[in-house]
Structure formats: C-alpha cells, structure tokens
Symmetry: C2
Subunit: 112 residues, 2 copies
C-alpha cells in the first residue's frame, strides 16, 4: 500500500536525522582506518613508549625505511604523529592525546 511505503520512508528519514553528519562519519572512519592496519598500529604503539627516529622504527618493526616512511606520511596527514627534523634524522612523536586512549580501549576489547 502507498501509505505503508510513505511511513517507511519517513521512519527511515527520522533515524537518518539522528545520525551524525556525513562528513563527521567520514572523518570518523578515516580516523579508525589509521588504526586498522597492523603496521600503523605498531608504529603508534612504539611511539607511545617513546619518540623515535624513522630508522629506529624500521629496526623495531623489521621493515624497510621506505615502507615505514610511507606509513608515517599517512599518520602525519591524519595528524596523529608529527616529525621533527634533528640534523639529518627525523624524530617522530605522537601528535594527539586521543591516540593512546583509543588504542588502549581497543586493546582491552581485544583481550576480552
């Protein structure tokens, strides 16, 4: 019946209105995507322990410097880490208070 369809559409609309704006959800997804790759998750966990040079991170993760640098660029663009040039080395550090708490929360979940 046409009435049913109309009501269904209205109901859907009212729930849609309660959701955050599309760009908020998009940003939210972008944020979580950063934690959604094992390499990036590891990099962030390393940086929780202490600030590190690119080469150090590569040593810890046993990955190429290039691969690490690419991921650091992604994390930088998400404003989760920042790099500071020190001579010919670049020291990376967390750029966001939330990182630790989000990771922590995820970890307690994973560990049941």
């Amino acid at each position: 019946m046409a009435e049913d369809a109309k009501q269904r559409v209205e109901c859907a609309q009212s729930i849609r209105d309660m959701l955050p704006d599309d760009d908020v959800i998009y940003n939210l997804a972008e944020l979580f995507k950063m934690f959604g790759d094992p390499t990036r998750a590891k990099i962030l966990q390393c940086l929780q322990l202490r600030d590190l040079y690119v080469g150090e991170i590569a040593d810890i993760l046993e990955m190429s410097i290039s691969a690490v640098s690419h991921q650091l660029r992604v994390l930088r663009s998400a404003k989760l880490v920042k790099g500071t040039k020190e001579g010919k080395e670049v020291k990376y550090s967390l750029d966001d208070d939330h990182v630790t708490k989000i990771l922590e929360y995820g970890l307690t979940h994973v560990n049941e």
Copy 2:
C-alpha cells in the same frame, strides 16, 4: 662500527619486546578496520539507536539491501553485531558492549 650496530639491534629488540604480541595487534587492527568504513560506521550507529531489519537499514542509508547484507556479514564475522531471524525478516542488533564506547570515543576526537 660493529659495536654500534649490535647495540642498535639490541635496543630495537627491547622495544619490540614491549609491544603486544603480533596476533594481538593483528586482532586490534581487524577490530578498528570494522569502524574504518563509512558504511559500517553508519550501520553500527543506527544499531545503537535501536535494533533494525536489514531492509530498514538499507532505507536509512539509501543503499541496496545486498550491499548492506554484505557489510552485516563482515560485522557479524567480527562479532560486533548479531542477526536474529523473525519470520522472513532478520533483526540485527549490536553484539558487543565496547562498540558504543569505541564509537563514542572516536566521535569526541573527531569533534575536536
């Protein structure tokens, strides 16, 4: 010098030892990946408001039932939602207390 290299390796090892096990990090990344797609993030937010049938979710998100069903399968396999058959419909609900809190935390971050 060989000593330098040895010490660098040992230092990397000691930090690596402080990180969670690889499979924990892998699971952590898998969890965050679930929130890292806008469609899935929206589905989870809908289900925070109330339990919903597949068709209702499709109406709310203005997506095909098939696309929604595929994502529900992914969320189900991650144990974040569960589906209960009711006649010919299937009602989905959140299957995890952490979901709300993780999303909430991400949202407060995104909103500065």
